[in-house]
């Protein structure tokens, strides 16, 4: 990220004020900061969900939005994990995992088989056909992780992935994420409030008032 600024409300609110950050391929990075510090905005820009007011996000030296299309970047390079899971309520667990694959061309059979494999990897072999409201919070987050992995992304972005979980499930989810990062060599960026999680990461940055404080 190069001189990244993001402001809202015609410049009255400055969420990010000139952030420079380089994340290596395969790195595990934790980002912390108070509410409103700009950490989620940073994650959104990193994930191509939004565009910066100024500055640029580079992926493998190519600028997002210019050299790399944001839709294609989100579909193929990034997997998102959200605090509130954001599973689609009308779809079964296995169907939720197939949703990102609908954005890329793949046969229905391949999609279903891949989704089943990912859910089995998440320990949800017996929960494939459950709807989100039939799953526990921890199970829902595991479905969301499987969904994030659906298109085999290079980067996993997790925004408060344990924010809605108890300590046992939190530990299990973080264990899973770190395991995926290590096994697959994926870049993992976790935004969190929890110092314990942040301190366990090899690299940890703090955001304060839209800038990297440390």
């Amino acid at each position: 990220m190069r001189s990244l600024c993001k402001s809202y409300d015609e410049g009255r609110i400055e969420a990010l004020r000139g952030v420079d950050l380089c994340i290596a391929e395969g790195e595990y990075l934790a980002i912390t900061g108070a509410s409103g510090s700009g950490k989620s905005t940073l994650l959104q820009l990193l994930g191509g969900l939004d565009i910066p007011t100024s500055g640029e996000v580079l992926f493998q030296n190519a600028a997002l939005g210019a050299a790399v299309g944001l839709d294609a970047y989100r579909a193929h390079k990034v997997g998102f994990i959200f605090q509130a899971f954001y599973l689609l309520p009308t779809l079964r667990a296995i169907e939720n995992v197939q949703v990102p694959m609908l954005a890329v061309s793949e046969s229905a059979r391949n999609r279903a088989e891949r989704a089943e494999g990912l859910l089995c990897e998440m320990g949800l072999k017996d929960r494939l056909n459950q709807y989100p409201n039939e799953l526990s919070a921890g199970e829902r987050q595991r479905v969301a992780i499987a969904r994030a992995l659906a298109n085999d992304p290079a980067i996993l972005l997790a925004d408060e992935p344990t924010g809605n979980l108890d300590s046992v499930n939190s530990a299990r989810i973080m264990e899973m994420l770190i395991g995926i990062h290590q096994r697959r060599g994926m870049t993992l960026v976790v935004v969190t409030h929890e110092n314990e999680i942040a301190n366990a990461a090899p690299r940890h940055i703090r955001i304060r008032d839209g800038r990297i404080a440390s």
Partner: protein
């Protein structure tokens, strides 16, 4: 076997989450398509029956004063027409629509007893009428609706007529009609000495002359010999007369209003759906869905609604036509048959209705900012 998610399946699940709203919307578009199938089908069947009537009697041309039905011309024109070399027979006719009972009205034709048009009718009981006599033939559907048989009497506009025969014609317009001597209908219609039209059967085309060319030549010859009159080919007369045009206009007008209501129903459903699913659309965008994919999903939902409503509407329309064909008030002019082309047209309209109705909600959904959409409660 792992459950496979298809694009269409996803669209259907989105619709089915609000079952009542979806079903009500389906009912709305089904009624609209049903109205189209029934009304436009009715008007087309009417036109078709008109053509069948001309074809079964062998009429090639209709001679009228104007191109509309509410026209009259002098009966004395007949000998001049019959004297033309191309004309085999020219027969005067009067046409009217008369209330027979408070519930039943019927088409009434006035023909001469020796008209070639009577030759195409099969008299299933009784005999033909005689000129100058208060006698009538009843089409078999009308006779059934009136519960009349040969030998019975029927009062028409204060005059008593004897039913001398029951006929089976080549068209529903005859099967549900009264046919009486020309002079009798002229008297009932206060058209003494006047006729609605002359129906002309041409002599066979000379060897080597194409039928179309011969028909045009005959038209020109008649119109030159009788200035002020129009010679109209039977097929054109069937599709381009005032009653058929009015039926078409009324059918399309009413159907269009119903379709507009149906489209608004789908649009409302899709707009509500997009609003309720704002966050979900944000999720799809975050998961890499392109704007075009989101638009396609919403448009697919709208088209599925339109198409499902269309299929329901085909049933509604066909049922309505069958009902109209069975009712005594309308049986004489309605045929229950619907052409496959008409059904395909109805389904096409249903699909286009879905596309039109879904366009704005789809555009709006696709252009939501992913970040704003994810924040939506």
């Amino acid at each position: 076997m792992a459950s496979q998610l298809s694009f269409a399946g996803f669209a259907w699940k989105n619709l089915w989450r609000r079952r009542l709203r979806t079903l009500l919307t389906l009912c709305g578009i089904a009624m609209a398509i049903g109205a189209f199938v029934a009304l436009v089908g009715f008007s087309r069947a009417f036109e078709h029956e008109w053509l069948r009537m001309y074809e079964s009697s062998g009429t090639d041309l209709a001679i009228v004063e104007k191109t509309f039905l509410n026209t009259s011309l002098e009966e004395s024109v007949g000998p001049k027409l019959n004297a033309l070399p191309v004309v085999a027979q020219a027969r005067p006719m009067v046409f009217n629509l008369i209330d027979l009972t408070p519930e039943i009205n019927a088409l009434v034709y006035g023909w001469q007893a020796d008209s070639y048009e009577l030759d195409s009718l099969v008299i299933t009981s009784g005999r033909r009428f005689r000129d100058g006599q208060p006698e009538i033939l009843l089409g078999e559907i009308l006779a059934g609706n009136l519960n009349k048989k040969a030998g019975d009497t029927l009062e028409i506009q204060g005059s008593t007529f004897t039913v001398v025969g029951i006929d089976h014609g080549g068209s529903a317009l005859e099967a549900g009609a009264v046919i009486m001597p020309l002079d009798q209908l002229q008297r009932l219609s206060s058209l003494e000495g006047k006729v609605t039209a002359f129906h002309v059967r041409l002599r066979p085309a000379p060897a080597g002359e194409a039928q179309d060319h011969y028909l045009k030549r005959a038209q020109a010859q008649i119109e030159n010999a009788l200035p002020g009159l129009h010679a109209i080919p039977a097929a054109e007369r069937a599709s381009n007369n005032q009653i058929v045009l009015l039926a078409h206009a009324a059918a399309w007008g009413t159907s269009s209003i119903a379709l507009l209501m149906g489209i608004l129903g789908i649009a409302n459903t899709m707009a509500m759906s997009v609003f309720e699913r704002t966050r979900e659309i944000g999720i799809l965008r975050a998961l890499g869905w392109k704007r075009s994919s989101v638009m396609l999903l919403i448009q697919t939902e709208a088209v599925v609604l339109g198409l499902a409503g269309g299929f329901l509407g085909l049933g509604v329309g066909w049922g309505t036509l069958r009902l109209l064909a069975a009712l005594p008030q309308t049986a004489s002019i309605v045929s229950a048959s619907v052409s496959p082309l008409h059904l395909l047209q109805a389904l096409g309209i249903a699909i286009v209705s879905g596309l039109v109705a879904g366009a704005i909600p789809a555009w709006r959904g696709a252009h939501l900012s992913p970040v704003e959409a994810l924040r939506h409660d």
